[in-house]
Symmetry: C2
């Protein structure tokens, strides 16, 4: 069918951050994810089985190509071939225009696993957190693994990459939360309905220069208190517990 050699090469090239940045595009696979993204992102190119295209006349893209299973199998960046592969333009957000004063937002300091970043975007979406600020060394949101791990939440949550130190210095008027082993019990502390929640890297936690800008240090108590346990929770697990607790209090 219609998938040209150049298109194969183009899709494969987008595995690499260098080419994603150059083209300002990213790959999404699977009918459900592609349809979710079509709601908010401009589609450069879609290749799908003819029956998928027939069933979804609402699909709009600069280029639409019918592909057969073997072509999709050859083009996929995943283990199993999807019924649709699309390339989207990255949405452009202006962090200056984001209204951060009246809501909760997340700040990721050096979260390096693409799966964790994907899980955190889903958590944010579940708990109505619309904005995530990431340090430049946080895993790239547009990494194919991360895009797939977000399960469509990528279409609803705005993710910015910027230096967290400079960002937090510009937002000292907001409550800034973070989790620390020496923090205060999250279940007894006052939690506000607005502010920034900083989550640190898998290995090293929150960097010192970022930690210095956190005014409200929280701790997720282990159970039973005082028992020897893991030193920490996985960053996505900790993010889930913290966001859930902020939202429980806001009910």
């Amino acid at each position: 069918m219609g998938l040209s050699k150049n298109k194969f090469k183009y899709i494969q090239s987008l595995k690499e951050k260098k080419f994603r940045s150059e083209h300002y595009t990213f790959v999404a696979e699977g009918t459900k994810l592609v349809l979710d993204l079509l709601a908010t992102c401009q589609c450069q190119f879609i290749a799908a089985l003819p029956e998928i295209l027939a069933a979804h006349p609402e699909i709009k893209a600069e280029e639409i190509v019918e592909a057969d299973e073997s072509e999709l199998k050859k083009a996929t960046l995943l283990k199993t071939a999807p019924q649709a592969i699309a390339v989207f333009y990255r949405p452009e957000y202006d962090i200056e225009k984001a209204d951060l004063g009246n809501r909760l937002s997340l700040v990721l300091d050096s979260v390096q696993d693409p799966g964790n970043v994907g899980a955190i975007v889903r958590i944010a979406d579940w708990f109505g957190i619309e904005t995530i600020i990431c340090s430049p060394d946080t895993a790239d949101l547009y990494n194919p693994k991360t895009v797939q791990a977000t399960m469509g939440a990528i279409a609803r949550v705005k993710v910015y990459y910027t230096d967290p130190v400079a960002f937090l210095q510009q937002h000292t008027h907001l409550p800034v939360y973070g989790t620390f082993l020496e923090g205060a019990d999250i279940y007894t502390e006052t939690l506000t309905g607005n502010g920034l929640i900083v989550m640190g890297s898998e290995g090293r936690g929150i960097r010192r220069e970022v930690a210095e800008l956190i005014s409200r240090k929280l701790y997720i108590p282990s159970y039973p208190a005082g028992r020897a346990t893991s030193e920490s929770l996985n960053v996505a697990a900790a993010t889930a517990i913290v966001c859930a607790e902020f939202r429980r209090r806001g009910r």
Copy 2:
């Protein structure tokens, strides 16, 4: 130094479940994880830098070999070479002897991602949940990725593989919880300090035949109520929120 060709081959073979089952052993890498495991698991074999062995005279194994950086780099199953690689015998647990009546335990129904299983073992450890029952198609705990993802929690949490339907049928006297989109609000339901918490697979959730054995269906409310969001949280994120809430109530 001392790493023989056969040892290299043996370590590499343990990437595969088939060989792990045959030898009833698994690989752990990194000084911290290896030391954690030495506390509870019998060590068949350890290869480490001479300085690591000198610093830890407490290390006991059937065979201890000094290795240099290039050997560890060649032997590692990870991206970066560790300072120690060890092969442990799997601990043997008898599920019949586990005292499940007075505590909380987890049941994983077909959780297929090794990273998720590793994160869930860490969550269990953090929240003092000592037992996890896994369906046979749940990712293998002894997969090197999972072992590393547990960050040492694997040494403290007992994980059993057995058919969850038969297991739940034998434990109908216990409260059995699970999360469902149509469940009751976890924040307003009564949560007991004992019982079983069932978590389902990444794609399909809890299977019907397992769901039928769940007496207390829970729901983690999204925020704000009624807004369009992701259909679900990542299974490790949901497990984290559920375990945290059971333990918050138990304080």
